[in-house]
Amino acid sequence: MQLMQPTQGSVRQFDRVFGALADATRRDIVRRAIDGNEGVAELATHFPMSFAAVQKHVAVLERAGLVGKHRVGRRKVVRTELEGLHIAQRLLDRYEEIWHGRIAAMNTILDESKETAQ
């Protein structure tokens, strides 16, 4: 698994993914683009900012591999790339394992102190 052997390349990729998702507007674009029905101009109508600003956000997401532009007939739509999201999901999965271990250790400590008190 990629996470087990982080390389410089994978670290940079994670950085791009996390950096891209660190912005609320970009997270919203990722959610809206899951259906892949809208182009940049249509996406821009949902946000109180200029077309150019939305275009910049889409470009950041595109570089992170989180969205891609696809031709549908004569239109170009923005679509969320699920693989990019899966990288984030895998990081969260590993973090969850750490917390399972921590909670189990907490429980052990609490049980011990109960025995001592008896």
Partner: protein, 163 residues
């Protein structure tokens, strides 16, 4: 398992863990407030933590290091932001260099802990982690990945065997 729910949001990059314990909120709070108890659960099993400074007061900083299987000692810190014993704790956590100085090149994360009495001597604890950068996570995960769940469970057995 006492973990009752885990909610992960890969878009917002947050994770919420909820657990219930057969203990009072005051007792659960001690897991965070008492450094000797804290260091028994904070570090992954093969990276036990040692807290050299720890005081749950707003503005206070905690310093700790973990000791890895090959003797390596990654350092970390907590900055205590909000404290309401025994129900609420908000802190920022991050990595430090070998001298314990906060490492500005590794962005930090925020943890929000809520502890509540749910009756019958039971307590619910929820922890919302707002995610650090990919680099910080890589480092964190590199420390935790060698054992995973199996070793965590093995560690608990060992503590139980000590009686």
């Amino acid at each position: 398992m006492t973990v009752t729910a885990v909610h992960k949001d890969p878009v917002a990059l947050t994770m919420t863990v909820t657990a219930e314990f057969n203990a009072t909120p005051e007792r659960v709070w001690q897991l965070w407030a008492d450094p000797r108890q804290l260091e028994r659960w904070w570090g992954p099993p093969t990276y036990p933590a040692t807290f050299t400074t720890h005081d749950l007061r707003p503005g206070a900083q905690s310093d700790y290091y973990m000791t890895g299987p090959n003797g390596e000692q990654p350092h970390g810190w907590w900055k205590i932001l909000e404290v309401e014993p025994p129900s609420r704790l908000v802190l920022r956590d991050g990595f430090a260099d070998e001298h314990g100085q906060p490492d500005a090149t590794l962005p930090d994360g925020i943890m929000r802990v809520a502890v509540e009495d749910i009756g019958d001597g039971r307590t619910r604890m929820s922890i919302i982690s707002e995610f650090p950068s990919a680099e910080a996570m890589e480092q964190l995960l590199a420390m935790g990945q060698e054992e995973g769940m199996k070793q965590a469970i093995g560690q608990i057995d060992a503590i139980l065997a000590e009686g």
